[in-house]
Symmetry: C2
Subunit: 325 residues, 2 copies
């Protein structure tokens, strides 16, 4: 079976979006290294435009629209970061955008999406299907639907995160990536498997939302209920056929971390690395800092996927509140 | 009169400390540019080791110790960031360190300084003179005193911040720098004046602590009471002869911002740029974002000086508490 994306797709994506995206910095922390016993290299996609890696895939997808698609516009459904990414990319490329967002998405994400000039349509995450709403609106309006992860252009675009990281830091023993629907992980795994075949590629899900871990264990896509976790960017119910196919072939392992570990890691990032990282963005780092991934003595690439969290929520988590999904 | 430092001293410092310091990223923000009407280029020294630019000067000073000085050790007094900087630099260079800190320094700074292996001596900021305590301990123990700003090696080391920035981004119309005792500003102004004579160099102090502004206006060093401001890194009572001499010759203007503006800017950094910046570190950005510095249509370099703020304090400021010094 031919997989939906290959290394060349990621390289092409990188060239296609280079003038739109930030090449985000790779950061290090003596304290992180002391805690993990590893050499940790953090790819800071929280410092990406729109505050998350999602902007990469959005640019890669919209840059490939033909004239008719550009004119009728793009529609997207998203718990947040994909929405902002599509909204800003569409604005920069002068394409109309409609975004379908859950009613419990962080207020900052709703506001940012509207701020980029997109029309926002709200749905109830627990009773309605965003896929159906998106498909219906796409048909009614003639817009092109760009899903948050189940699209080769999205997957290839997200993979540019790992391409930049590996080109900058050279050899890695392990690459650890935050995991929701698998767009980022499948893209990054495609890069690592090609450039550094010996590098272990590990995805990290929230404990309550281990749909990909279970899917890989059972060798077929497993559907779960909407997981209750503070990692709102990883509340996926299942990977897609495309992301699952790539992850199955190119990812070595998927592990999980608790919401409490995410909060501790969020505090670590704020206190020690002076960065705001959203709970979902802490997944990969938490797995290394808390020893879930064996990292001692190794060079470990860690993707920080995003930094979009309401400041009130962020403040209350920093201040010691219990993490309630 | 020969000034205490020249451009060549900063270049030499840069080579001397390159293996110890982070070359911090230069970040941009579409939202910041929209608010200011300028092209803002943020030099993120909050992402420097020990969380502030102070590490640069500390490394430059300690790397120039002779064998006898190395053996007897270093003593420093500081409201915080200089303390951590000297402590880590001393540890990396295997030099014993004693740090004199005020009893109201943020707990995170006290803990970090001790964590780097330095001995901490506490004093009362409002009744005791840290200069006297430092001098006395230096004499008793035979240690070399490295003050937080009044030293050519410190000033030259801090100037490497601007050297990296100007080399990376090219031409600037304005360079805006956070200002306490003037170590950072005098070093950065020395670089800008040499590399880009037409670039305006502006220092930013807290309203309550405008000792340098008044000193420049009156043409002589003006002493003020310990200012009550949330910018704890800028609670200086006066510039030193050395920093004043350099600033008088090479700085175009000093402006001030309110504590409220610092809190708004701190929220902006957290919410939009996903970074933790301490109140003092917000001084330069606040002056541009709030229009105190005329920046519309210009390329403006902005130094973010540090990110060391207790997480509880940070959380309460983000959450909307009034700023109380």
């Amino acid at each position: 079976m031919t997989l939906p994306i290959g290394f060349d797709d990621v390289v092409a994506a990188h060239e296609r979006i280079a003038d739109l995206v930030h090449q985000t910095p790779v950061l290090t922390s003596r304290t992180a290294d002391e805690r993990s016993g590893a050499t940790m290299l953090f790819k800071a996609e929280n410092l990406q435009r729109t505050g998350a890696f999602k902007f990469r895939g959005a640019c890669n997808a919209l840059r490939q629209f033909d004239d008719a698609q550009r004119q009728r516009g793009v529609i997207a459904y998203s718990s947040g970061n994909h929405a902002q990414a599509i909204a800003l990319a569409a604005r920069l490329l002068q394409i109309p955008a409609t975004i379908v967002m859950p009613q419990d998405a962080p207020a900052s994400k709703l506001a940012a999406t509207r701020g980029y000039g997109a029309e926002v349509v709200i749905y109830d995450r627990y009773s309605q299907s965003r896929e159906e709403i998106g498909a219906q609106l796409a048909e009614e309006r003639g817009m092109t639907l760009i899903p948050p992860f189940d699209h080769p252009h999205i997957m290839a675009g997200q993979g540019t995160t790992a391409l930049e990281l590996l080109r900058e830091v050279g050899g890695l023993d392990v690459l650890v990536v935050c995991l929701g629907g698998g767009g980022l992980l499948s893209g990054c795994a495609t890069v690592a498997r090609h450039l550094q075949p010996a590098c272990r590629v590990i995805g990290v899900e929230p404990e309550a939302g281990n749909d990909v871990q279970r899917s890989l264990q059972q060798g077929r896509i497993v559907h779960i209920d909407v997981p209750r976790t503070i990692a709102d960017g990883a509340q996926t119910k299942a990977p897609s056929e495309r992301t699952f196919a790539v992850m199955r072939r190119r990812v070595d392992e998927v592990v999980t971390v608790s919401d409490e570990a995410l909060v501790r890691t969020m505090r670590f990032f704020a206190g020690r690395m002076k960065m705001v990282v959203e709970p979902t963005g802490c997944l990969a780092a938490a797995a290394v800092l808390e020893g879930t991934v064996a990292a001692r003595g190794k060079r470990v690439g860690v993707v920080i996927s995003g930094g979009n969290v309401d400041l009130d929520r962020f403040a209350s988590l920093l201040g010691g509140s219990e993490p309630t999904p």
